[in-house]
Amino acid sequence: MMTRLFGAPIKRIEDPRLLRGQGAYLDDLGSDALAAAFVRSPHAHGRILDIDVSDAIDIDGLVAIYTYDDLPGPLAEPLPLLIPHPALTQGRTPHALAKDEVNHVGEAIAMVVARDRYIAEDAAERVVVHYAQLPPVVGIQAARAADRLVHDDVPGNLGARMTQAIGDVDAALAAAPHRLALDLTVERSASMPLEGRGVLARWDRDSKRLRVWTSTQTSTGVRAAVAAKLDLPLGAVEVITPDVGGGFGVKIVHPWPEEVLVPFAARALDRPVKFTEDRREHFVASAHERAQIQHVDVGFDDQGRIHGLDVRFWHDHGAYTPYGLIVPIITSTQLLGPYRVHDYRVTFDSLYTNTVIVTPYRGAGRPQGVFAMERTMDAIARALDLDRADVRAANFIQPEEMPYDHGLIFQDGRPLCYDSGDYPGTLAKLKALIGWSDFEQFRADARAEGRRVGIGLAMYVEGTGVGPYEGGHVHVETSGKVKVATGLTSQGQGHQTAFAQIVADELGVALEDVEVVTGDTRRFPYAVGTFASRAAVMSGSAVALAARVVRQKALRIAGEALEASPDDLEIVDGQVRVKGAPGVTIGLGTVAVLSNPLRYAFDEASKAATQFAIGNPDKPPVDEDDEPGLEGKDYYSPAQSTFANGAHAVIVETDPDTAEIKILRYCVVHDCGNLINPRIVEGQVHGGVAQGVGGALYERMVYDEHGQLLNASFMDFLMPYVTEVPSAIEIDHLETPSPLNPLGIKGAGEAGVIPSAAVFASAIEDAEGIPIRAMPISPSDLFTLRARADRLTSERPGPRAPAAGPLEEIA
């Protein structure tokens, strides 16, 4: 028997190529292409008075300069608002090149095309733009104050206000035995993949077809957008996703201005054109996420059970809203986590600022929601002097309550209904893994040495595998090799391996005989994209279903050839055989030959398939309900998302003098249903945790009052090196299968980053006895908090309690 590959920690198929330097990322392609560079706004807010290119046009090697006035037809219209929503009453999107006005530093104003990038940048530098500067709106407070407006026609800088509610929160709060209020802040960070954005386009003048390569998380989306913007039939545009050097959300936005302008130039110039984003451009011209200010009112009883939860938050969405309200909707719904809250109301304002747009970054609004809820749980525990884990347990949705419908609408427009999950089991595993019950002894021992330590925990539920659908195509060639295609893209998640594992199992073939292609609209033109931890659930299920179609067909054809019922057949090692009679076999390659009756013989295999060799003369060569070829296609389209969950715990040590924060242990319990490849899942968790450490302790976008991003480089934006991440990330898995899909899987891609801000805040608060209400937190921030707490203490009698002091917010 063959070993089942699903669930096995298989080494990745994609690795040898990448390890040899044979990867093909966007900038590795198109060695013959012209290079595009962009003139970008140095001002956060201003009117464009004049663009003067006269000093640039004489540069040797310059090919073209485009400004807004050069853009024809649909390309001159604003870029699409990708995800409209009834609550987004004041959605605004930019033009591909700025028209009259700029709304953030980095906004593209002119595109320069030249023989190489050096020359293009020389020319771009010589394009002179005159502006009338306008006062910028920077930060949520300024946006709320609305003394100045980002867009003249958007009053209050308010893009959207949205409320969702269940139960009667006012009555529940009024009746609750205890009340508490928290004001919370989360700052901006960004996906920051090591490879920035990039696009290459070739126009074929003879066939009037456009081929575009782009470093994207959705090739089908880019294809449709480019076709619309360039006024081309969809069939005349092909989009190919090459190797992508990380995405983490930012590359789901489409079309970027460059993604339509570069193809436009390639067609206009009849020359291949390429744009490769540099790092500074990525900071100021792609997307950020996370910034929110939150206010939480909670009512609870003596056991810490929540009776009412009223959340108000303000979300900074930057200068434009191409991605709609996805991030704040996720915050407002996923905030509830694993907890049962009958009376809940959440209202958010999504606000314009003169800063880079905000679109999903790994976690996509969940880290902020989890921060709000988990800070609340900790605050309740402290107010009641209860164990923080016990307060959480008191509020859990129980496994037997699944499926659990909160009565809210999720980001996909579908009910927020948890399909499965074992939250008490998750917490029990986490407590065992970190040694929750033994920590007080550790704290005491540390304290005796003059050290200050704290432990924190945070739990989350993550809607993964959102629809609407993905598809898969499986083709068995006459060689017996299996070619698989699915439309969504890959940015390092190991799809070629994981999907091959699924198909190899379903078809009964060897892993090395399966080849998977993703993100190529020539191979699979219907797809959505890779985001929201959806690829394994969606395309994994789709390729499994497609493989089952092929399997059925193979068994039917083989049954005819072997004169056996398909029910009596099995496929082992690529051979269809009669169960219990291993001598009677036919290879899948031969079945593929039989599936496709031919007139012409090109080789030995096709010779065997000519009409004179096979077929029943009484029937048509291809039956009415049949198709030639051993191939199959199917789609997976679930009625709703599947909900993964997990819990993190961290032990930190804070330096009593310098306020440095050191991670002593980091533990993760993770339930993403059945694991396709544990090695890949753990890698995803590791990476997420590292990004979470960055977001909790280091990364922030520092804008000054003029809207200048002061730390737009890797020198100044502090992404974790190995020295900043825990030396070990301890992981334990639960596998609660999803009932929603054929493989019982849930998504895993974002999990590692979701509870990070919450878990570090919990641990630092525990170590310091100071309420932690804003993240990220640097040593300087902690130092300042200590000083403030000391002032408060000196004004009040008695020492500051180290761990379970009173909370100033208690109402």
Binding site: R12, Q22, A24, D27, L194, A690
Partner: protein, 155 residues
């Protein structure tokens, strides 16, 4: 603009002569003039380490060097790490075995850095393994499995 400059250098064991503009970066020269696109550029300011190559055996940031300055020197890129016949080097194999890469974009810089690091210290402690890679950024792996790969390659 200043006149182009003649350079002669050895890249992955093969000799090259080229005439380069004075401002041509070594990274661009390797990638776009020699077609050795395995060396990746992640930040263009010497911080991320993705563009690390070995210059006379020493790890350097090729985005911070001008091609004109390496005349007469020997460069090893990721394409030059595999053994005869294309077999993965010990470091490359350890990366696959330990799942030390995800998107693979930063990986060439880690491979060159670690290759030189293990040559200088063939038996690093876990702490030394972390130190060895502490100048390279990776956004995917959280470094756990890269450290594991260093230790595995040293076995």
């Amino acid at each position: 603009m200043s006149a182009d400059i003649d350079v002669a250098l050895i890249v992955n064991g093969a000799g090259y002569r080229a005439r380069v503009p004075p401002r041509r970066l070594l990274s661009d020269f390797l990638r776009h003039d020699l077609g050795l696109t395995g060396t990746h550029v992640g930040c263009e300011h010497g911080v991320c380490g993705a563009c690390t190559v070995l210059l006379d055996g020493v790890p350097v940031r090729s985005c911070l060097l001008l091609a004109a300055t390496v005349d007469g020197q020997e460069v090893t890129t990721v394409e030059g790490l595999a053994g005869p016949g294309g077999s993965l080097s010990k470091v490359q194999q350890a990366f696959q075995d330990a799942h030390g890469l995800q998107c693979g974009f930063c990986t060439p810089g880690f491979l060159t850095t670690i290759t030189a690091g293990l040559r200088d210290n063939p038996s690093p402690s876990p702490e030394q393994a972390r130190e060895m890679i502490s100048g390279n950024l990776c956004r995917c792996t959280g470094y756990q499995n890269i450290v594991a790969a260093v230790l595995k390659a040293a076995e």
